[in-house]
Structure formats: C-alpha cells, structure tokens
Symmetry: C2
Subunit: 281 residues, 2 copies
C-alpha cells in the first residue's frame, strides 16, 4: 500500500475541504492516507509554522485559502519544497468569477457569517432537539418536516442531520398499541414523511441494540412476525394518510435526508412556492 500524507489547510473551519477530500478519496482503493488538518490559518506566521510540519511529513497539500496573499505564499513555498498542491475551490471560484463578472473578494470565513440564515439554522437545531421522539407535539405545525416510523428506523439521526441543514424537524414513533396524537392528521405546514425498512434489517439492528443494552434478545421487539406486523401497520398508516415513504434499508442517513429534502422541494414546486427551499444552503 502506498502511504500518502494528505495535508488539508484552510483559513476557515476546513469543513468544506474535509468533505471534498472525503468525496474524492472515496473514489480510490483503500490506501494508507494519513490526513492532517490545519484549520483557521489566517496569518503568515501561522502558515510558516505549518510549512515546517509539511517538511517533516511531505505529501499532497490541499487547501481552501480565500485570502490571495496567504494562498500565494503557500503555493510559492510548496513549489519551492517540491510538494504537490491543489486549490480545492479553484474551479468553482473561477467559474463564478466569469459568470458574475466580479473577482472573488478573498475574505475568509464569510460562509460562516451570522446572518438570518445562520440563526434560522440554530433555531432549527433547538426545535429539533425539543421535538424528538414525540415530544412537544402541540408545536408540530411549526415544523418543516415530521418523520414517523417504527422504533429504530433512524428517525433521530435523520432529524438531527436535517436540522443541521436548516429544517425544523419533529419525529414520532409509530407504535401499534399506542396511536399517534390526533395532531398528526391535521398538519398543513409540515411535510409528514414515513420511514420504513425491511423486517430482516430491522430485526438485525434491534438485536444489536438489545445486545449493547445487555438485554434478553428473545422479545416481541425482535420477533419476526411481530416486526412484520408492526411494519405493515406503519405502512398502512402512511398509505391511509397519503404520506410519502422513504425506505431506509440500504440508505445512509445522508441519503435518506437527501431524498426527504427532494420531497420537500417537489412539494414546494407543486404548490408554487419557490423551489429553492427555506434555507437550503
């Protein structure tokens, strides 16, 4: 296996660069790639200290440096040290410069401005935490999305993920013996989405859950007939109410969330509201 030091250097939080590196690395066979993170690099002194580390562990340098001076210095020094380097935002920034007829301004961290969209996103997280697992159903009308599903269909992590993208999410467990509050059937603003999965997968996940809790595994919670009946009950509930359904069996949280966001956008497009969403970016 090749061993590669991958230096990720940013003058902001480095999150975009991490995601770009992750997406790109996923296209290669597993190699021994050692990642080094260098966020918040905003001065020449800071940069110079890091360049010493690059010398000690030479490898590929990827960066998102919007400040032209810092970027120029980094590129110059990498070239002098013989280190391969690439600007992860270059292609998109150049394309935008051409289309907008403006030069990029080179002010780091501007995507983290605490503007209205930012505070709306923080509100969405607070709302979602306060409306997990059926709590606070009297406020459901304020939600953007209400997720319903039987136990262990990823309602909580999916809700949290969507909250981070700016959506106010509530979620409610579907339990055969205990019907959901009436409020669920009269919502107008939120989109209600059903989450389902295959019985086999659900039993597997629940078995692991019970094992990790050190509990007896032969309960109704993992009994095949009971689990099938539970899923059938949920499917009927979703169908009776015309709620769209996402099957999470082979989907990661991110993929389920992308499918839910798409449903929201389609609904908005149908109802004539601009398709760009409440705070999509």
């Amino acid at each position: 296996m090749a061993r590669l030091h991958l230096h990720l250097l940013s003058d902001s939080t480095g999150e975009t660069l991490e995601m770009v590196a992750k997406a790109a690395l996923a296209q290669f066979d597993e190699e021994e790639v050692v990642r080094h993170f260098w966020p918040m690099v905003r001065s020449s002194q800071h940069l110079d200290r890091i360049l010493d580390e690059f010398k000690a562990k030479p490898g590929l340098v990827l960066y998102t440096l919007v400040n032209e001076e810092t970027r120029g210095r980094l590129e110059e020094r990498c070239t002098a040290l013989g280190l391969p380097h690439a600007d992860a935002l270059e292609t998109v920034t150049l394309a935008l410069e051409q289309q907008l007829g403006q030069e990029a301004q080179g002010r780091p961290g501007r995507q983290h401005r605490m503007d209205d969209a930012y505070f709306a996103r923080v509100d969405a997280i607070q709302f979602t935490i306060a409306h997990d697992d059926g709590i606070g159903w009297d406020n459901w009308e304020e939600a953007d999305i209400v997720l319903a599903g039987v136990s262990r269909t990823s309602k909580t992590p999916t809700s949290i993920y969507l909250a981070n993208r700016g959506y106010k999410v509530a979620n409610i467990p579907v339990v055969v013996e205990s019907p959901p509050p009436e409020a669920l059937y009269t919502l107008s603003r939120p989109m209600v989405v059903g989450l389902t999965t295959s019985a086999g997968r659900l039993i597997e996940i629940r078995r692991n859950r019970l094992l990790s809790l050190n509990e007896q595994t032969q309960t109704a919670y993992v009994d095949e007939e009971r689990v099938k009946a539970e899923l059938a009950f949920a499917r009927r509930l979703f169908a009776d109410n015309g709620w769209p359904v996402i099957d999470v069996t082979r989907r990661s949280i991110e993929e389920s969330a992308a499918a839910i966001i798409k449903l929201c956008q389609e609904r908005r497009a149908r109802e004539g509201v601009p398709a760009s969403g409440p705070k999509p970016i």
Copy 2:
C-alpha cells in the same frame, strides 16, 4: 444585480457540492443567484429530464458526478447547449490520481458507505442527544468532549454540530446556585471545554430569548450585574480546573466547533495518540 441560475447536480446527496458552492459564493457580492439542486442523478434518463430544465433556466452548471459516463454526457450536452459548466471535484481528484498512481473509480455515493466510521457517527449523535443539558452525567466518561457554560452560550447547537462530525458530546449548564455533579471533576477520557461570551452579547441573546417566549424581560436572567457575576463564576470554575475556554462572542457554531476540534487534536498530539482523531472525516 446580475441574475444567475446556479444548477448544482450530483450523483450522490449533493452535500459536498452545496458546501463548495456556499464557500465559493461567500467570496462575491450579493447577487441574485437562484440555486437549483439536482441530487441523486444516476441514470441517463434522469439526466436528460434535468437537461430540459437547464434549457428553461440557463445558467452555470456545477457538478460532482463520479460516474465517468454520466459526467461525459453532461459535459457534452452542456457544451452543445452553450452552458458554462465546472466539475467541483476535478482538481482534487486529479491531484489524488497522480499521488496515488490510480484512476478514480467512478462509483457514486461511496463516501456514504455504511462502514464502522458511519455507525460510530450515528452512535455519536444518539449519545449527544441523550447527554444534552446535564442529562446522563453518569456516562460522561464515555464522551469525547464535555462542554460547560452558562445558559445561552450555544452549548446545545455546538454539541450537535460536533456529534455530526463524529464526536460524542455531553454538555452541562453552569449555574451559580447549583454546582455541577462531582463526576465533572474526575473525568479522564473526555476533554472538558468551557464556553464563555461577553456579558453584553449574552444579555442581548437572553433578552431576545425572553421576548420570543413572551416573558417579562427585567429578571435576574438579564440583569447586567448578575450576568457578569455568573460569567465570572464560570470563568473561575474553568480556571480552577485547568479547562480550556472558548469565547463564542464573535464565533459561529462552526467556528467554535473547529476551535474545539483543534483543542482535541492538540491534546491527542501531546499525549502521543495519533493526531488524526477518532473519526475526523
């Protein structure tokens, strides 16, 4: 103001592309940029339907398409339609191809593989939700990070954000009248971090909070002397225990989180554990 349609097309969730677009757009003056999201485009038929939408709303096409065939088709059609287009992952993918001596494999969505790191991240979210606001302190030793701070210093959203990045986080409010559980002083695994902010900013945030709850604003919660005493009490608690402190006054959640992750990495480097962290990507 120039009006630009920005089409963001991906064969996966589109999240990386959204972040790249957001980071790049932040470098330009506010223009009327209308964003259109096209996630999960994995077939030629799907692509052809979207190309019709591009014709109706021509603009800049940005994409993360790892499948070579779909990507080739998109580029060819964009050229034929006269639409400017750019591959947001190209620079980084090319640099990795050169360094690893491999070609990219063109399988979409591989960064969302449900591997160990994925399940560890879902666990981190579950843990963090279950340890918000001082709950579950008997499990704090399992956390990666414990955040302490007075009311409204962004403990919850910062915790959730860190959980999404794979860290198990607990948080505890610092309240003058009610000391934190003894468990806080004997933790060895988690890094305890104090959050603080300026009195002026805290009063402003709390006033807004009370207003939004329709409550009387002249309480101790927003009294300047009381708030200053509260912050001084918290600062002393952090100093007495040698906990690092993050001032969130002018920081967004993402920036506070980046600073906390940096503290974790520095602590690991000091203690000889590999600097790459538990599951940093």
